[in-house]
Structure formats: structure tokens, C-alpha cells
Amino acid sequence: MFDIVKGPIDVSKVIDAVADRNTGAIVTFIGSVREMTKGKKTLYLEYEAYESMAKKKLEQIGSEIKTQFPDAKTAIVHRIGRLEITDIAVAIAVSAPHRDDAYRANRYAIERIKEMVPIWKKEHWENGEKWIGNQQETVSYEKTGVPKEFGL
């Protein structure tokens, strides 16, 4: 399951998508909307995506995880549109026979989303709004690249 949705994410469905008889561990990551960022109060967020490409890129992350952790199964759902404080923006579930692979693969998925999946967030504050770019200054956008720390 790799999807971009416009309504609330059903986390249990994301988890169910990766459960199977060979699974010994499922790690779930939930990214939610935070109110305070560096002392600034967010009222709500707005996410926009290049939907068709974003779905493909989520699928690509699933394939990259498969290459590194052949027994892992991945499901990722990202929500777009207007999100309120505490809403779930992204849910990632990774299952594997053992916990170490599940933890590592899940971490890999969220870092990769922040690096190259075409989704953008606009923060709305009491006194303004801003599209947020990536926080690191240097981003690698290679076609099928895998970050060095996760190198094959």
C-alpha cells in the first residue's frame, strides 16, 4: 500500500497491509502535525503533492527497502490538504521477520520521503504563512539513489 490521500489516515489499515505469517516485528511511524516549532505557533498545515509522481516515489522507497531487507514489507500513506494540529500526516508500517530490520527499514523510509518525494508543506501562523523547503541545505535527488548511510 503506497498512497496519497485527502482524508484521515486509517493507521490500522496501513499496519494490516504489511502483516503476514512470516512477520515477527512491525514498526510503525506516525508523523503528526506539531503546534510549536522553534517558539512559533502553527495554526494548521497545508500539504500539496505532485500526486502521481509522489505515489511512484513511495513505491520506489518500498523497492529500495526490498533490496536492502528482502524479507521486509512496507506500506506508506501520506495525507495532503489542510491538516490541523495533532492530525496524522504520514503513516509508515514496515514488517520483517526480526525487529532490527523493521526498525532500520522504517527509519530509511521516512528519511527518504523527506529527501525526494514531491510533497510540500505550507505552515500557517497567526501572522503569516510560508512554504517550507527542505531543512538540510544539500539534498540528493538522484534518480534511483540511495543515501550513503544506507548504501547497499
Binding site: Y47, S52, M53, V90, I113, K114, P118, W120, K122, N134
Partner: protein, 77 residues
């Protein structure tokens, strides 16, 4: 015709969600130069460009009918 999709702040900045370029063939680098010309899109030299939903390099060729997208730094998650 080459269709160029715009997102996030680029869409707001140019006040439209796509641009059409009346060319049959050009490289990604040429497109970048064209968009940056006369201050039309100051970020043209730094944004990533996707051709048919895959990240492309400056030497890659864009052909008539391809769907191009300008991808500013992403902030999902």
C-alpha cells in the same frame, strides 16, 4: 509543446499551475536557462526537474508531449 507543471511556492509565485513551452525538443538544461531568463523564475537554476515523473539531469532531453515538473525542495513527512 512541452507542459511544465508548477507546485507549492512556484505555483503561487507565477500564479499558475502550468506553463506550456512551444518547443518540440530541448534539454533540461535549456529549459532551466529559458525559465531563468529575464528574472522570470529566479529559482530555475536550483530546482529539480522531473520529466515524465522521474528526476532528470540537465543533459536529458525533453520531447514534444513530455510532462515536465519543477520540483522545489520537498517538505513531506
Amino acid at each position: 509543446m512541452i507542459k511544465v507543471l508548477l507546485f507549492a511556492h512556484l505555483k503561487e509565485q507565477l500564479n499558475r499551475s502550468e506553463i506550456t513551452i512551444d518547443r518540440n525538443e530541448m534539454t533540461v538544461g535549456e529549459l532551466r536557462a529559458k525559465l531563468g531568463k529575464d528574472g522570470f523564475l529566479p529559482q530555475a537554476s536550483s530546482v529539480m526537474i522531473a520529466v515524465n515523473e522521474e528526476f532528470a539531469q540537465d543533459e536529458d532531453i525533453i520531447r514534444d508531449g513530455d510532462v515536465v515538473a519543477l520540483i522545489p525542495p520537498v517538505s513531506g513527512g
